[in-house]
Amino acid sequence: MARKEALEVDRLTVTFAREGRAVVRNVSFTIAPGEAFGLVGESGSGKSLTCRAILRLMPRGASIAGRIMYGGRDLLGLSDGEMQALRGSSIAMVFQDPLTALNPVLRVGDSIAQVIQAHGGLGRRAARTRAVEMMERVGIRDAGRRAAAYPHEFSGGMRQRIHIAMALAARPTLLLADEPTTALDVVVQAEILRLLDDLRRQDGMSLLLVSHDFRVVAGLCDRVGVMYAGELVEVGATQTVLRRPEHPYTIGLMNSLPEAVLGERLRAIPGSPPDPGLLPPGCAFAPRCELARDSCTAAPIAMAEAVRGHWARCIRRDQLDEMRRGLVMVGAAGA
């Protein structure tokens, strides 16, 4: 019933007018049907707001400009009612804290069934059956009995699975996941990511995975975008971006991980992420970049295609070999 559509974000800009800050600036990317796209960035990069903008879940005072095309329609042009119909049914979202979605006074089976009933027109009994099916699908054993339990009776990883079950209950074609595994233990993280990956492939669903951790995104995303200070600074296939990053910030992020510089000293990026209200024209990363020149801050830098499908917003890319040299490249060492 639901067609599989590409998501096209076109020059998305989010501004807080009162404070005069643009926290997302001209972000453009596409997610093909069935594709997993990762958005990586630190705090203040705008990655979460970009994700929320797709569902128009914006905090007060935020104004959005640009276009977000999905299913042949510009989501930013839809009325509140039309948007409301989309949420949960075509596009669903998973948050970092599953308790955002799980009502602590409702049994989990009821929470899931509610979603189904709200969007599917199924009766109560049918919805409950489907809720149990969903719980089984996300790997909760003894689902029939556990559906009667309350959220607090589950561990963090289990709660996240239930949250995912709720998100997928109405069979969306696009799933947005904002730091879904950040609060979880190492092995549980891997399990939840594996779950998301499996479900995506089974349903042919597109996935937008937002994380501050490059490694999380590297695991299951076909393509990745790196954000800094509200802008996309690099975009491309995960393989190519990791093998040969084309932006100093991306290299800096990778250089910050002990496993990427095995035995060597971490080459930390000096300084801190900038205040979105005090950005210079041109490259926002320039103040922290060892390759920066005057031309970097003179005027806005446009995305340039390094290799087919791999874009970077940097005019000093020809100087990056030295920076890349220290990186222990993927597959070369350490499982």
């Binding site: 233990d185 891997a190 990511l193 590297a218 990791l242 800096g252 496993e259 000293r265 971490l266 350490g334």
Partner: protein, 324 residues
């Protein structure tokens, strides 16, 4: 031997309430200790890493080592003196020698104290520097952690997370400690800032010849700071990796699981990960090896006997019945 922890055990007893935690509510039966028979020894100038996830007991261990909690059984010896036996006043004075940097830089600083007051207070309470020398010493401390001198008059709310953590480190250093315990000091920070703080800690360790216990859930981060690593699970130390042994040669099934399941910079690593069993049993089994519910090698003996930590040679120790 500077700091020795011997057979520390700590159990948190909840009064019987309607909320029994995860798993079957209302369950009775023995409660698994948060820390069970943990022993550690730290030489002067050495750095030891402790790796564990939530519920592993690493934070309890840190608190017992820092004397913020009294272990139920076991001893903590600082240069041979049993700290668990000390009276209140001596205990307070000994605390100065073991300092902690906590995980959350946002709540670790008193919002009402300026940076200068917070640092100066340490110096004056412990009489470390003559009164008129305090401002200069504070300046030196700020410089050591890479903060400008004018930070002195500002409140913590004026600083970013990474900067606040630097203030916390400076505060710990102000006490002139012999041991620094860092409990997940970078987990709450952005990746690029994490690297800065890790470098800072590594530098300080060398420059000030600090003995350090570094705790984290990330094996590689821990190895960056500390060559010797203790891996914890279910309240026990299940493996000790000495400096020479690479992580990939870990022998305990849990450490192997950690290595296999961790996120890494390889594209598509997730698909190459094998069977993960983390959630088969969120609650720890009450008897025997704490890891047995998730262990592919578990057998009868694992159910009954909690495996002791055995030295395999060269300082590499493992607590598992199935490792020869």
């Amino acid at each position: 031997m500077l700091l020795v922890a011997e057979h520390l055990t700590r159990t948190y007893v909840h009064r019987r309430g309607w909320l029994q935690g995860t798993g079957a509510p209302g369950a009775r039966g023995p409660v698994r200790p948060a820390l069970a028979d943990a022993s550690l020894s730290l030489e002067r100038g050495e750095a030891i890493g402790v790796v564990g996830e939530s519920g592993s007991g690493k934070s309890t261990l840190a608190r017992c080592l820092a004397l913020l909690e009294r272990p139920d059984t076991g001893r903590v010896l600082l240069e041979g003196v049993d700290l668990t036996r000390l009276g209140r006043r001596e205990l307070r004075r000994s605390r100065r020698r073991i300092q902690v940097v906590f995980q959350d830089p946002y709540s670790s600083l008193n919002p009402r104290l300026t940076v200068g007051s917070a640092l100066g207070e340490v110096l004056s309470v412990h009489d470390l520097v003559p009164r008129d020398q305090i401002p200069r010493r504070v300046e030196t401390l700020l410089d050591q952690v890479g903060l400008p001198a004018r930070a002195v008059g500002r409140y913590p709310s004026d600083f970013s997370g990474g900067q606040r953590q630097r203030i916390c480190i400076a505060r710990a250093l102000a006490a002139n400690p012999e041991v620094l315990i860092a409990d997940e000091p970078v987990s709450a920070l952005d990746v690029s800032i994490q690297a800065q703080i890790l470098n800072l800690l590594a530098d300080l360790r060398v420059r000030l010849r600090l003995s350090m216990i570094f705790i984290s859930h990330d094996l590689y981060v821990v190895r960056y700071i500390a060559p010797k690593i203790a891996v914890m699970f279910g309240g026990r130390i299940v493996e000790v990796l000495p400096p020479g042994v690479p992580l990939e040669q870990a022998r305990h099934p849990y450490t192997e699981a950690l290595l296999a399941a961790r996120s890494r910079l390889e594209p598509g690593w997730l698909a190459r990960t094998g069977q993960l069993n983390a959630e088969l049993a969120a609650a720890l089994p009450a008897t025997g090896c704490p890891f047995r519910a998730r262990c592919p090698h578990a057998s009868g003996v694992c159910e009954e006997i909690d495996p002791p930590l055995r030295d395999l040679g060269g300082g590499h120790a493992v607590a598992c019945h199935h490792v020869p």
